[in-house]
Structures are given as structure tokens and as C-alpha cells.
């Protein structure tokens, strides 16, 4: 797929130029019916394709899509600052942005360490969930037996409040990384499986018939047709999964840990240190946002051809 994704960028540019000069296809020896000039006028989509946007244009497009939410955030921030500074609510409940900022810079080395711990648990959990989820999805999509045996259990397991398993995991695996990672995997697994199964099942049956007449084995059919076809679904599932993995890691830390942002949150809570609490929350959200954006970028690189990528989605080339 990467090979495919990489040359698509070049292909776009090349096709755009090609479309311009191809109104009359060459060498069409007609049977005397309709002349070659009428055979292939450029189809609507090709002729009207906008050229690949330059870097400046893309930056402008990004700015255009970002200024509205930025304005809303700024308004919210201003309101927070005003309320806190005027002490309509006491500062031990709602600190001012300056207090939060001071706390964050003062305790940066400590906070950075805890952030890395949570980031590590989240990323490992997410990667494992993606790998296991995809494997389960493939098994379910390919085997009727596994479909009937596994899928109902996967669906049913979703009703178990997985956060409630956290104490058990701590009892079993102690206070280290393991219970947090397992919890992150458990929470992030579900959307990957569901989206993977939906994606793999969405293959056009005629394409599968075609693959059969091409004499291709199941592995080739998977690699060339079913997997790339499932990618749009799968990427949507991965985006949900990555934010859920953060939740899993933090909740795991709540239950029993000596490090990590979840642990710091409990500590700050116990000390009524709301400035630290806010700083901690911001860092947690930061992890979620950064990982989400990374998955978005991966999606833009992997499936630039997909309809969801053609519309003006923020953070992409539009």
C-alpha cells in the first residue's frame, strides 16, 4: 500500500497534465461509425481537476479551516481567565491560566517524565490493539466458523465495562506497565475489529469473482483487493481506537500506579492542587490530540484516493 500511496501524489500531477492534452486520443482506427474525435472527450472529472495545490495554498487552506475553531477556543480561554482572575470562583477550584502555566513550567521535568510514561503505555496499547484487532477482523471475515464463534463474543464483550476490570488487572499484574497496556488494548480493540470486519466485508463480490477467474490465491486477493478496499473503514476505526487507548492507559493508572499522568491526577486531586490538575489534563489531551493527528496523517498518505479524503477535510490537502 505504501508504494501505492507514494506514487499517487506524483500520479495526480501527471494525470492533471495528461488530461489537458488528451482531448483527441491517438490511433483510434474507427469502423466508420462515430469518428474518433467524439470517442473520448475528457470526462467531466478529469478536465475540471484542480492542479495540485502549492505549499502556500495548502497553508492558506489549513488556516481557513482552523480560524473558526481557534476563535471559539480563544473565547473560551478568555472567559476562563476572566472568571478565575476576578475570583468569581475561588482559585483553589479554578486556577488562572497563569497559575497553570507556572505550575507546568516549574514542575516540567517531573511532568515530562509522567507524560512519557502515559504516552508509552498508550502507544504500545494502541499498536497491540491495532495488530490484534486486524488479525481478529481478518479471521472473522475469512472464516464462517470463526465468524459464528468469535464475533458474538466480541460484540458481547463490549457490554462489559472494561474500566471495571482495571482493579483485577492490578491484582494480577501489579503496578507496572502491564495492566495499563492491557486495559488500553481491551478498550481500543473493539473499534478496530468492528471497522476491520466491516471494511473487509465491503469488497464488491464481482471483484472477488474476478479475482477467482484471474487464478489468484487468497493471499494475493487479500493484498491487492480486500485489504486496500478495507482501509478507509479501518482508518476510521483506528482514529477512534487511538483516543480510547489514552483513556485505557489513564484509567489503568488511576487504579494503581506510581507514575504516569493518571497517577499525577490522583495526587493533585488529593492535595487540592487544581493548577497541577489542569496542567495534567492539558498534557493528557495533548497526547490524545498528537496521536489522533498522526493517525490522520497516516490516513491521508494511505488513502488519498478515498471519497472522505477528497472533500475539504481539515489537516489534509483538500
Amino acid at each position: 500500500m505504501t508504494e501505492n500511496a507514494l506514487d499517487t501524489a506524483g500520479r495526480k500531477a501527471a494525470a492533471a497534465t495528461a488530461a489537458g492534452e488528451s482531448a483527441v486520443p491517438a490511433g483510434n482506427s474507427s469502423t466508420g461509425g462515430p469518428g474518433p474525435s467524439t470517442v473520448a472527450g475528457p470526462p467531466p472529472g478529469v478536465g475540471g481537476r484542480p492542479p495540485r495545490p502549492t505549499l502556500g495554498r495548502r497553508a492558506l487552506g489549513l488556516a481557513d479551516s482552523l480560524w473558526r475553531p481557534a476563535l471559539v477556543l480563544a473565547a473560551f480561554f478568555a472567559a476562563w481567565w476572566f472568571v478565575a482572575a476576578q475570583e468569581y470562583v475561588p482559585n483553589y477550584l479554578v486556577p488562572t491560566p497563569v497559575q497553570v502555566w507556572t505550575t507546568m513550567t516549574d514542575q516540567w521535568s517531573e511532568l515530562a517524565r509522567h507524560t512519557l510514561v502515559t504516552l508509552y503505555e498508550t502507544v504500545v496499547g494502541f499498536v497491540l490493539a491495532a495488530a490484534l484487532g486486524l488479525a481478529a477482523a481478518v479471521a472473522i471475515a475469512y472464516s464462517r466458523t470463526l465468524d459464528k464463534a468469535l464475533y458474538p463474543i466480541v460484540l458481547f464483550a463490549q457490554v462489559i465495562p472494561k474500566i471495571a476490570i482495571a482493579p483485577l488487572l492490578v491484582v494480577w499484574f501489579g503496578l507496572g506497565f502491564t495492566p495499563k497496556i492491557i486495559l488500553a488494548v481491551l478498550i481500543a480493540f473493539f473499534p478496530v475489529v468492528i471497522s476491520g470486519v466491516a471494511g473487509l466485508r465491503s469488497t464488491d463480490p464481482e471483484l472477488l469473482d474476478l479475482a477467482a477467474t484471474m487464478g489468484a490465491g487468497p493471499w494475493r486477493t487479500f493484498r491487492k483487493i480486500r485489504f486496500p478496499n478495507a482501509l478507509p473503514h479501518l482508518m476510521a476505526g483506528l482514529k477512534v481506537a487511538v483516543t480510547l487507548a489514552v483513556v485505557g492507559a489513564v484509567v489503568g493508572e488511576f487504579v494503581g500506579a506510581s507514575e504516569g499522568l493518571g497517577y499525577v491526577l490522583l495526587l493533585a486531586n488529593g492535595n487540592l492542587d487544581s493548577a497541577l490538575l489542569f496542567a495534567d489534563l492539558i498534557l493528557m489531551s495533548g497526547i490524545g490530540i498528537v496521536l489522533f493527528v498522526l493517525v490522520e496523517i497516516a490516513e491521508a498518505l494511505l488513502i488519498p484516493w478515498h471519497a472522505s479524503r477528497r472533500a475539504g477535510v481539515p489537516l489534509t490537502t483538500s
Partner: protein, 264 residues
């Protein structure tokens, strides 16, 4: 028409093909005792009312559907499982939406593990032959329906199959594009000598393209009659349309299809 055993040198031999689909409540017979031999190089068109099992017939020849009873052979070998010596074109182009036109055509080569250089040359030939030049890199969503179907046709022809099976390939196209595609397909058939079986709803298409027209009845699908088409091998669309033999055959077919639908 009679259930003749497949002779040596038969492209496709069908004898006594019957297909029943059984659901929980009922049993439907899609095809009833269909026998048909097709010689190499023939262009056989199959017309019939909707749901007469025409598509099922093609899928049986391709080895994608097993008949309930009866025998089918392709190039004198019994059909057991999906066949590789064919090209298949569906009503939908069924292209991979992440691949450009040329890459979609080359899918055939990749899936078969064909020689890359040779396949690339053949793809370029076909692209030129079907007027896709200049659109090699265009993604399917950037192509019109006619262009997409050209890509599907090139993909089906890439490995130079001895037999080409087409299931209403131009059914979704507008009338003008359809005529162009008919003329092009006729030319490709003349140039390649491939045996073609084409299922269609259009009487004009069936007569213009076919060397033989097979008429099927509504469900259960049976072969009512087979007409040889007495038109020159080299056909020109405008000439054929004004040929009295075309008119006569088209009228016969229309009458037969009308009664076939009415008797249902």
C-alpha cells in the same frame, strides 16, 4: 440445440445445464436443460427477459456457479471451479478505486503473476486500441462510465484470453456511448479472434455484434431459439442499422421475446 456431446475444438460446450436455487420456502429453477455448443471465434449473443438466468449461465461457464445438473466444458476441458482461460466483464466496471486506469488493467497481470514487461506492453497496446490514451493515470472516479467500462474491457483482454464472457457490459451506458462501444468491441473481436459470449437486453446490440443470437425464455430459463446472423463479418454500425436483414432479424427477435415474456 440438441444435447450434442462436446466435439473436439469446441470453445464452450454446455449440455443439459439446470440450476435450481432453493430457499427455505420455495425452490426456483433458474435454468432448465440448457444445451449450447460454441465454436472458437464465434460471437454469441444471448438475449432474454430479465431474470431468465442469462448471467447465471455465464457464471457457470466461468466456473463461479456450479450447475445443479448438466455438464459444461471450456476449451474441451470440463469446468470444475473458477476458470483462468477467460476474461470477464460485468455490467459494473468493478475497478479498484485507488488505482489509475493503467494500474487497474495491470491488476490482471499481477494477479496471474504474468511477465511484467510483456504485460506492460500489452496494456499500452490495449490502451491505444480502446482510446484510453491520456487517461492512463486517471482514477476511476475521474472517468466517465464509458471510459470505466473500456478499462474493464482492457483488463479482461490483457492476458489475451481465448474466451471473453460479457454480462451486459454496456447496460449502464447512455445510448450514444453504447453504440460507440459496440463498434469498438466488434473491431476488437475481429482483430483478436477471441470467442465472445455476450449477454444483453438490447436486440440491436445482440444483432449487430453476434454471429449467432440465442433467445432465452423467462424463468425457468430455456433456450427458445438460435438465430444465425446473416450479416457480413466486417460490420459498420450505420450500414448494419439500415440493412433490411438487420430489420427482419430484429423484428423476429422482438416478436419472439414479446411472446416469451407474455407466456410467462
Amino acid at each position: 440445440m440438441t444435447a450434442a456431446p462436446a466435439r473436439a475444438g469446441t470453445a464452450i460446450g454446455m449440455s443439459g445445464l439446470t440450476v435450481r436455487f432453493s430457499s427455505r420456502r420455495s425452490q426456483t429453477t433458474a435454468l432448465d436443460d440448457v444445451s449450447l455448443d460454441i465454436e472458437p471465434g464465434e460471437f454469441v449473443t444471448i438475449v432474454g427477459p430479465s431474470g431468465c438466468g442469462k448471467s447465471t449461465l455465464l457464471k457457470i461457464v466461468a466456473g463461479l456457479v456450479r450447475p445443479t445438473s448438466g455438464e459444461v466444458s471450456l476449451l474441451d476441458r470440463p469446468v470444475k471451479g473458477p476458470q483462468k482461460e477467460i476474461g470477464f466483464v460485468f455490467q459494473k466496471a468493478a475497478l479498484l478505486e485507488w488505482r489509475g486506469a493503467r494500474a487497474n488493467i495491470l491488476l490482471q497481470a499481477e494477479m496471474r503473476g504474468m511477465d511484467r514487461a510483456q504485460a506492460a506492453r500489452r496494456a499500452d497496446e490495449l490502451i491505444e486500441m480502446t482510446g484510453l490514451t491520456g487517461f492512463e493515470k486517471a482514477l476511476p472516479h475521474e472517468l466517465s462510465g464509458g471510459m470505466q467500462q473500456r478499462v474493464a474491457l482492457c483488463r479482461a483482454l490483457l492476458h489475451s484470453p481465448p474466451v471473453l464472457l460479457m454480462d451486459e457490459p454496456f447496460g449502464a451506458l447512455d445510448a450514444l456511448t453504447r453504440e460507440q462501444m459496440n463498434a469498438e468491441l466488434h473491431r476488437i473481436w475481429r482483430e483478436t479472434g477471441t470467442t465472445v459470449v455476450l449477454v444483453t437486453h438490447s436486440i440491436a446490440e445482440a444483432v449487430f455484434l453476434g454471429t449467432r443470437v440465442v433467445v432465452m425464455s423467462a424463468r425457468p430459463g430455456r433456450i427458445i431459439r438460435t438465430f444465425p446472423v446473416e450479416l457480413p463479418a466486417h460490420r459498420d454500425y450505420a450500414q448494419v442499422m439500415s440493412d433490411p436483414r438487420f430489420d427482419r432479424l430484429a423484428t423476429d427477435l422482438r416478436g419472439l421475446l414479446g411472446s416469451a415474456a407474455a407466456n410467462h
